[in-house]
Amino acid sequence: MTAFADLTLHEQMLLTYEAEQFLYREAALLDDRRLDEWLELLTDDIHYWMPIRRTTTAKEIDREFTEPGGMAFFDDDRSTLAMRIQRLSVGRAWAEDPPSRTRRLISNVQIVRMEGDEVETTCNFQLYRTRLASEEDSWIGRREDVLRRVDGQHSMAPRHKNMEQTVILAQNMSSLF
């Protein structure tokens, strides 16, 4: 089975382009509040995971993140993600009414692994949110996603996000990252 590195530069570029455009499309769906369509992009085995990050000494830097299976800000599967989205449609989801305004800036898209139908990508993101008259939040971090080709279309398989903040400097994280 061919590894990504074995592809011609041109093939690599094509794959990267596909991945970029997929990630842009995904971001646009969230920014446009088209959450049901976003949900469609996810594979059934998705693990939507954002660990807790801690400030440690250089010596203990390996303890910086909590481990899967433990405490986390996001630790969702498809069903809990569906709940998050359904909440917004049943009304009285105060954290999002009035709706927030969000903008997701995706950059540094790289393909780090290719295997069969899957490519594993990393990218950096900035999620900017404003609410009400003048509340601003900005979250910056790195994402790892696995894109799987399911009958010709790309879908998102397990996905990890790392935030740069230890204390979340926002009243809530009612947006999806």
């Binding site: 800000f73 709940m83 954290a95």
Partner: protein, 444 residues
């Protein structure tokens, strides 16, 4: 502010259940809270399992003072001010970890795990051995004590012993979680900041009234049942110095039926079976007492420790009059099964915290309630705390435990603000001990 600074603050009218909003926004009141409440009270800092080994430390806060909680070589837990006596530099910058000693990064003064100054560069050559090392260690909390694994510290040497401070209600509050087994804290404390006054967050833990409205979506999407989230039957337990427990409770009859059902295995299961089950153990019942055994609500250890039903506690750390930091600790019995661990983590990762399916709807209401205390005209208007006032009675159990059996209410909040006012009016612990109210009896 004059009156208050003079110790005669008159902000809460317990008779009428009416509160002055300014206590949520006034910077002078806030400054006095740091002196008269946080610098005086017994404050929860962490769980002993978070500092299990000598050298293990956990950074915590008492008001706006950062403290290092650390297990020293004698396995004693020390609570130390995280500031070097030489120039004031922070001696430990990590949130948690393991240390052999605390070496100040500015000039290298070195402090033992018990905070004592063990040495510095040039003690001989530069200081000519003319420094009283015993006098210049890290500042230590005046008193440190542990109740069933929960570590508390006070900055006031005249504070009463922890167990007296907690009283039976504060102890019961902790017992409700401590009695679930030999508890250990899971790795990972969720922290986030809200633009709200810390008392708004405390008020909310007694607030079983907001659930249906604030968290309606969580029920509607079937994440949690209405029965478990917003039962009408409530039980309120009030303790000295502002401690309290409020929320669902089983009447004596419900308790009896429950036990019968457990015994015979007949009858429809209830949402509270899991929590109540543990309390079939006579030892636990003994511990909790007849009233505590029936309590399914939220304890608050005054001033700011919420004991939640999800095997979690939430510390509300003040960050100025208009900002509060929330820290979520999660616990698990040492002997928990993998399944039990999964359930606990699932709840902890999905209910509370900034992304929690419940809590994400709270933040904005709290910050806007705080905002409502700021406008020049708006802040003149009173806050209504009258729900249920004068309609309920305190029943005293032969065991000496007492409680209010009623429906959704604001007894807990009223008690909190009344006690808060007494703390703020008292010049010293002696004055507070002399003047503070005993929990109400009769009609409330």
């Amino acid at each position: 502010m004059a009156e208050l600074m003079a110790g005669r603050g008159d902000w809460f009218d317990a008779e009428r259940g009416v509160l002055d909003r300014r206590i949520f926004s006034d910077p002078d009141i806030y400054a006095q809270e740091l002196e008269r409440i946080f610098a005086r009270a017994w404050n929860f800092v962490c769980h002993e399992s978070q500092v299990a080994e000598p050298g293990a430390f956990f950074m915590s806060w008492i008001g706006e003072d950062e403290v290092i909680v650390v297990r020293d070589r004698d396995r004693q837990i020390q609570v130390l001010l995280n500031s070097c006596p030489h120039r004031g530099n922070t001696v430990c910058r990590a949130e948690q970890g393991k240390a052999a000693s605390f070496l100040c990064s500015y000039h290298g003064w070195n402090f033992d795990l018990d905070g004592s100054l063990v040495g510095m560069p040039g003690e001989d050559a530069f200081y000519r051995n003319d420094i009283d090392k015993d006098a210049w260690g890290l500042g230590r909390a005046a008193q440190v004590a542990v109740y069933r694994g929960f570590v508390f510290a006070t900055m006031d040497p005249t504070a009463p012993p922890l167990e007296d401070y907690l009283g039976w209600v504060g102890r019961l509050g902790i017992d409700l979680i401590a009695s679930q087994g030999d508890m250990v804290a899971l790795d990972g404390v969720m922290k986030n900041r809200l633009k709200c006054n810390w008392k708004i967050a405390v008020d909310n833990l007694y607030d079983w009234y907001h659930v249906k409205v604030s968290h309606g979506t969580a029920m509607r999407v079937g994440f949690l049942s209405e029965a478990s989230m917003a039962p009408n039957d409530q039980m309120v337990i009030l303790g000295e110095y502002g401690h309290g427990i409020g929320g669902p409770g089983l009447s004596e009859q419900q308790q009896a039926e429950f036990e019968e059902r457990m015994r015979t295995g007949e009858g429809a299961p209830q949402w509270y079976d899991i929590q109540a089950a543990r309390r079939l153990d006579p030892a636990v019942r003994e511990q909790l007492g007849p009233v505590g055994t029936r309590a399914l609500g939220h304890p608050n250890i005054f001033p700011n420790l919420w004991v939640a039903l999800t095997r979690q506690v939430c510390l509300r750390i003040p960050r100025g009059p208009l900002e509060t930091e929330l820290w979520w600790f999660t616990f698990l019995p040492k002997d928990a099964t993998e399944q039990e661990r999964r359930t606990t983590v699932f709840m902890a990762n999905h209910v509370f915290g900034p992304a929690g399916l419940l809590e994400q709807d709270d933040g904005e209401n709290w910050s806007h309630s705080t905002r409502g205390a700021t406008g020049a005209v708006t802040r003149r208007r009173p806050i209504n705390l009258g729900m249920g006032r004068g309609h309920d009675a305190v029943t005293l159990d032969p065991s000496g435990q007492s409680c209010i059996e009623t429906v959704v209410n604001e007894h807990g909040q009223r008690w909190t603000y009344q006690s808060w006012q007494e703390w703020m009016r008292s010049e010293s612990w002696a004055a507070l001990e002399a003047d503070h109210s005993q929990p109400p009896e009769g009609t409330v």
